[in-house]
């Protein structure tokens, strides 16, 4: 701009010089001509024309050129101011301080300030959106990591269970084979039993027929015994008749003897006859009694025979019933044995098929086990990938935190706000612990808050009371020089709020990062460096 302005200012001077040189050259020529005889009016005319041209030049070129020069000077001043504003804004943008950049953008020319503010707000919104998205990614990655870990654990358990099931199925296959063998043996035994049952049924049928024959013969004996009983009763009647006749004869003989006695001597012979008749009658009666006795014994024998035949008949009937029942039982047993043999053969076939199926199941289970193991390995890799995703999301969050946004989610904003509050009370830091404690309670993701002087000596160090750590666990002490710490050196170098990469906290052993901000007093002098240790996991949850 200055070069252009110089060009514009040098144009009339160049014209004047050029005109002077041309006039001087013309005047020299006129003088030479006059000396050698050129007319005087030519010299006068020359002067008039030269003065006219000079006046025309001053009026037409030199004055506008001066006005243009002043205008360009004003433009150059505005341009220089805008350049400084742009430089300021760009430095803030380079530092990621969108808040300061927006503040500085108010110094930009009004033609570009609104567009720049809109663009800055859009960038801020974009960063916040990226932050939110990264938080979502971190949460999702954590959930995926947890789920993948659970699935991996479950897959391992499933693989173990499948191994157990495989062993069980193999045992089942062996058992099925044994059952098949036993069933085949059982089928053979059942076939033998069926054959024996058939033979037994035939034998029982023969026994039944024999018993029926015996029953018929016993019935014939009973019939004959009954007939003998009937005949015996007839004999009894005959014996009774004979006895009666003998008694009558006896009585008659007695009467005859009585009569013979009454006849005296003449009846003596008759008495002898009568007595003989009476003796015969007596012997007849005695014989009849003997016969009766024998007949009674015979009758008793017949009755015993009848009773025995009846009992035999009953026993035979029972035997027959039992034989029939035995035949039916044998038939049922044979049928059952036949069904058992059939069932045993079916069991043998089924168990053989079961063994084949079990072998196939075992093969399938082995394949399933391999698939599950591969799946478990894949899930472990997936879990690792999710963990990496979570770490990547955390890195993105940290990258977004490199921007200082006017947002409660911005740790830079939190640190800068607290640093501004401390700077306004510079020289009155007696209650730093309470200020830090209040800030730590307000932001529970902060592990510690501390302040150093510009030389790096620790002025205050406060641990979040929610951590409930003993004082012995605090790794630093007031007065300790921390000027070698990266966050201190970054703040001292860049003179602005900075973030460290994620590292492992000495206090909690968890991942954390430090945000450090310069503390300026109201006069703008650096009076200290504020440090906040942020627990990454808690901060991610809070942000989410």
């Amino acid at each position: 701009m200055k070069e252009q302005e110089t060009n514009w200012s040098t144009v009339p001077v160049f014209g004047v010089v050029l005109s002077g040189l041309l006039g001087l050259l013309g005047f020299t020529g006129i003088l030479v001509g006059t000396h050698y005889g050129l007319p005087r009016w030519i010299l006068d005319t020359y002067f008039v024309v030269a003065l006219g041209i000079l006046g025309l030049y001053v009026g037409v070129v030199l004055q506008p050129a001066r006005r243009m020069s002043r205008r360009f000077a004003r433009i150059a001043t505005h341009a220089e101011k805008a350049e400084r504003a742009f430089d300021h804004v760009l430095k803030h943008l380079q530092a990621g301080d969108l808040v300061a950049a927006q503040e500085a953008a108010r110094q930009l020319p009004p033609q570009v300030a609104p567009q720049f503010l809109a663009a800055s707000r859009a960038v801020g919104a974009l960063v916040q959106q990226i932050l939110a998205s990264s938080v979502d990614i971190a949460v999702a990655g954590q959930e995926v990591h947890n789920t993948a870990s659970e699935l991996a654990s479950g897959s391992s358990e499933q693989a173990a269970a499948v191994v157990e099931i495989t062993a069980t199925m193999e045992e089942l296959a062996r058992t099925a084979a044994q059952i098949a063998t036993n069933a085949a043996n059982q089928a053979d035994l059942a076939a033998q039993a069926e054959e024996a049952g058939t033979m037994g049924a035939a034998a029982v049928e023969d026994a039944v027929r024999g018993v029926e024959e015996v029953q018929k013969r016993i019935s014939a004996i009973a019939t004959r015994a009954d007939s003998l009983g009937t005949r015996s009763r007839e004999i009894y009647r005959v014996l009774d008749l004979i006895t009666e006749i003998a008694q009558e004869t006896h009585i008659l003989a007695l009467n005859a003897a009585i009569e013979a006695t009454a006849a005296g001597e003449h009846g003596r012979r008759f008495s002898v006859v009568a007595d003989e008749v009476r003796r015969l009658a007596e012997r007849s009666r005695e014989s009849v009694e003997s016969v009766r006795t024998l007949l009674e014994e015979f009758s008793a024998s017949i009755r015993a025979t009848v009773v025995a035949t009846e009992e035999s008949s009953k026993e035979v009937a029972k035997v027959w019933e039992r034989a029939r029942a035995a035949a039916a039982s044998i038939e049922q047993l044979r049928s059952a044995v036949s069904e058992t043999a059939h069932a045993a053969r079916e069991i043998s076939l089924a168990t053989q098929q079961q063994r084949t199926a079990s072998d196939q199941v075992v093969l399938t289970l082995k394949e399933v086990s391999q698939v599950i193991q591969k799946m478990a390995e894949g899930l472990k890799a997936f879990s690792a990938t999710a963990e990496r995703l979570n770490q990547l999301a955390l890195s993105i969050q940290l990258l977004t935190q490199s921007f200082h946004l006017d947002s409660p989610r911005s740790v830079k904003h939190i640190a800068q706000t607290l640093a501004d509050a401390l700077g306004s009370e510079a020289g009155h830091w007696e209650a730093l612990d309470s200020t830090f404690t209040q800030a730590l309670k307000q932001h529970r993701f902060l592990e510690t808050a501390f302040l150093t002087d510009p030389e790096g000596n620790l002025v205050a160090f406060t641990v979040n009371p929610d951590l409930r750590l003993p004082d012995t666990a605090i790794p630093v002490a007031v007065g300790q020089n921390l000027s070698e710490r990266p966050w201190f050196q970054a703040v001292m170098r860049d003179k602005r709020t900075t973030l460290t990469p994620v590292y492992t906290s000495l206090l909690t052993g968890q991942k954390c990062f430090t945000v450090a901000a310069p503390v300026h007093d109201p006069q703008g002098r650096l009076v200290g460096v504020l440090g906040l240790d942020v627990n990454a996991a808690s901060w991610t949850k809070i942000v989410a």
């Binding site: 009558e248 009585i251 007695l254 003897a257 009585i258 006695t261 009454a262 008495s271 007595d275 009476r278």
Partner: protein, 98 residues
């Protein structure tokens, strides 16, 4: 001592004797009956007619055990008996016993 033929019968388990000449008839039946002219004597068994019976007259001693009048005691086949008096039959032996 002999006094003619006697009809011997058994009753109540004892052997009794009646003079045959006083017996009119003997009837058979479930129980034989001895018919006299004025009485009927049931018997368990008619033993027979004894032509010769050893008989002794009733002594005082017999009267102590047998209060009814009788002809005496007799012995047949070593078995003692009472020889009844047909006119003085003990009611116990007569038909229609108590």
């Amino acid at each position: 001592m002999s006094g003619g033929a006697y009809l011997l019968f058994r009753r109540f388990g004892c052997l009794w004797a009646l003079p045959a000449k006083h017996v009119t008839a003997i009837f058979s039946g479930p129980k034989p009956e001895i018919h006299l002219s004025h009485a009927t004597v049931p018997a368990d068994e008619i033993v027979g007619v004894c032509a010769e019976l050893q008989r002794v007259n009733p002594a005082r001693t017999l009267g102590a055990f047998w209060p009814y009048p009788c002809q005496g005691l007799g012995v047949f086949a070593k078995e003692p008996m009472v020889v009844l008096l047909p006119d003085a039959l003990p009611p116990l032996l007569c038909k229609g016993e108590p």
